[in-house]
């Protein structure tokens, strides 16, 4: 029974949040903070897979999010809404209730395909040279979308919001919150299963010693390809959710600053610690929201806090450990390896 405690507790907590927002106990601001928190959790957990577990230095995660956001909103507009761009909806609005995961999957698949551009050079090179490739891919994605005038170019794209209202017309529930929570819990569960599987042990092996891993019959190129695709695909899912939460995407909001945010969350939580990156995503979002009244001084204070944190705890909040390693009593309830 104790072993399943987490599997019961987390969905219960998610359901509790949904019930609260349905009853109106959480106002819209709190709801949006929770949703951004969940999106940041996906971003930081998926980047942690590459930067922490595989030991590469990818600093263009915002680019994949951008691909996901655009593909997700275009799919959603094509399938479920009457838009100027695609004309009448292909499917009736109520089918979004069941088929919305299709949009997320499509966004994830498109972002994973872009991830291949980064994964293939990583066969030959690593470290800072790979960092530059991810950075260049981020710039290229943004620049390409800015040049596609059909989907709005630099002005951005709107019109994916009606998908959500179509769902709410059928069953009056806070669907956005439900999908975002499903996305976040699903992504974290996927990453956890991937890392703790026998196949996923290869990811840590590549991090620690690539040559030794190869000798021990780990197919390093395939591990890199799959890991990059999983990571960028999940970033794409986060992007699609973000687009539906905000109801508006423009390429400028996925630039280096977004990638920097994701990197900060990973290194704040500790490299290679999944629970650390989830925790730091939650804390980082809360910190940003708490300091919002300071306006521009927020962006002076937040980096300062992070620098001080790095000075006093240079390995991040959790280091390389997971939650049960820090608090052994939790081991009764859930394990990681």
């Amino acid at each position: 029974m104790q072993r399943y405690a987490l599997n019961i507790l987390l969905p219960a907590a998610a359901a509790f949040i949904v019930v609260l927002s349905q009853m109106g106990a959480l106002d819209l601001y709190v709801q949006s903070v929770i949703m951004f928190m969940a999106i940041n959790v996906i971003m930081s957990a998926s980047l942690n897979l590459v930067n922490g577990n595989m030991g590469e230095f990818s600093c263009g995660h915002g680019g994949f999010m951008c691909v996901g956001a655009y593909v997700g909103s275009l799919l959603s507009m094509l399938l479920f809404t009457n838009s100027k761009l695609f004309g009448a909806a292909l499917l009736p609005g109520y089918s979004a209730l069941v088929l919305f995961p299709l949009v997320l999957l499509g966004a994830g698949a498109a972002a994973a395909l872009v991830g291949v551009i980064v994964a293939v050079p990583s066969f030959k090179t690593r470290g800072d040279y790979l960092a530059i490739i991810t950075l260049a891919v981020n710039y290229m994605v943004i620049s390409a979308i800015q040049n596609l005038d059909v989907i709005g170019g630099p002005r951005g794209l709107t019109g994916m919001r009606p998908t959500m209202s179509a769902m709410e017309d059928v069953v009056n529930l806070p669907w956005m919150m439900i999908w975002v929570l499903i996305g976040a819990f699903g992504s974290v569960a996927l990453i956890r299963r991937y890392i703790s599987s026998t196949y996923g042990k290869g990811v840590n092996a590549v991090c620690q010693d690539e040559i030794a891993a190869e000798i021990m019959s780990v197919d390093t190129n395939r591990i890199k390809l799959v890991t990059f695709m999983v990571s960028s695909g999940l970033a794409g899912v986060a992007g699609a959710l973000y687009a539906h939460v905000v109801g508006y995407v423009n390429p400028g909001s996925f630039d280096i600053l977004k990638s920097t945010e994701a990197m900060v969350m990973v290194y704040l939580g500790g490299m290679g610690s999944l629970s650390g990156s989830v925790l730091s995503a939650v804390l980082f979002t809360l910190l940003l929201e708490a300091l919002r009244p300071l306006q521009i001084y927020k962006w002076v204070l937040v980096p300062l806090i992070l620098i001080l944190l790095m000075q006093f705890r240079p390995e991040g909040i959790m280091g390389n450990k997971e939650l049960p390693d820090m608090f052994p009593r939790l081991r009764k309830y859930f394990t990681f390896k």
Binding site: P121, Y129, I132, V137, Y139, M140, S143, T260, Y297, W299
Partner: protein, 302 residues
Amino acid sequence: MEFVFQNILNALQWGSFYALIALGYTLVYGVLLLINFAHGDIFMVGAYIAYFVATLFLATVGLSPSATLTLAVPLTMILTACVGVTLERVAYRPLRRKGAHRLYVVITALMCGLILENGNLALLGASRKNFPELLEKTVYNFMGLSVTNLKVVVIFTAIAVFLLLQFIVTRTKIGMAMRGIAWDKFAIPLMGIPVDTIIVFTFVLGSGMAGLAGLLFAMSYPVLEPYMGALIGWKAFIAAVVGGIGDIRGAFVGGFLLAFLEIGVAAVFPSTLRDLIAFTVLLLIMWRKPTGIFGVAKHQKI
């Protein structure tokens, strides 16, 4: 024909800026294996320092523009170098002492860059600053080409800086120490070489050149804003890596290559495609030569 040469001149000028900034990345990386992401913002701070120095001497003290320029060049370089060294002392060195993972220092550098950018925005406000004219503009007409004296100054400064740094790194004792730290940072202190002094010297060189670039940039494009260093800094970093990071020649070749690509694309295609095509070409170069043009692949011992 004139069109082509005019664009080549523009590309040489832009390439000089990229090269001067890329130098700072390459010098610090060559010694510490640290990507100093704050460097683009140090360039921005350099431009602002140049602005304050120039307005101080021009308006408050009342010197002539040429006298101001001769004073502003060394002062800007020294003050910007102080900013770079302060960052090293306050943020990077304590982390290095604690033996933190290299990437945590990189993140700290990113945060320092954000503080410089937004601190500037918070302190000085979002209004753009107009840089005073220090060098009287003369246009040389040369076989139908018009060249301003400023362009000539920028290009020749970049070449002079390249020769100077190449000399320092390859021919002097301190340069030998810098290369030595890059080679083996555990053996170097045993040879009696003061590692911290060498690192500070590297930061002085890199940040000083960023200050010089800031001054020249402000003279060429006299509108200053807090985020001017971010994009040009990232691009200069990309240029440094494509050239082969850790190599002075690489920074120069990469900087000029990026500038030629950008100006060439903007001359032929619509200028909105500039980033897309330039970065695609750079990506293809990285696919072919993963360690950059001058970079040497390090073989791992088994």
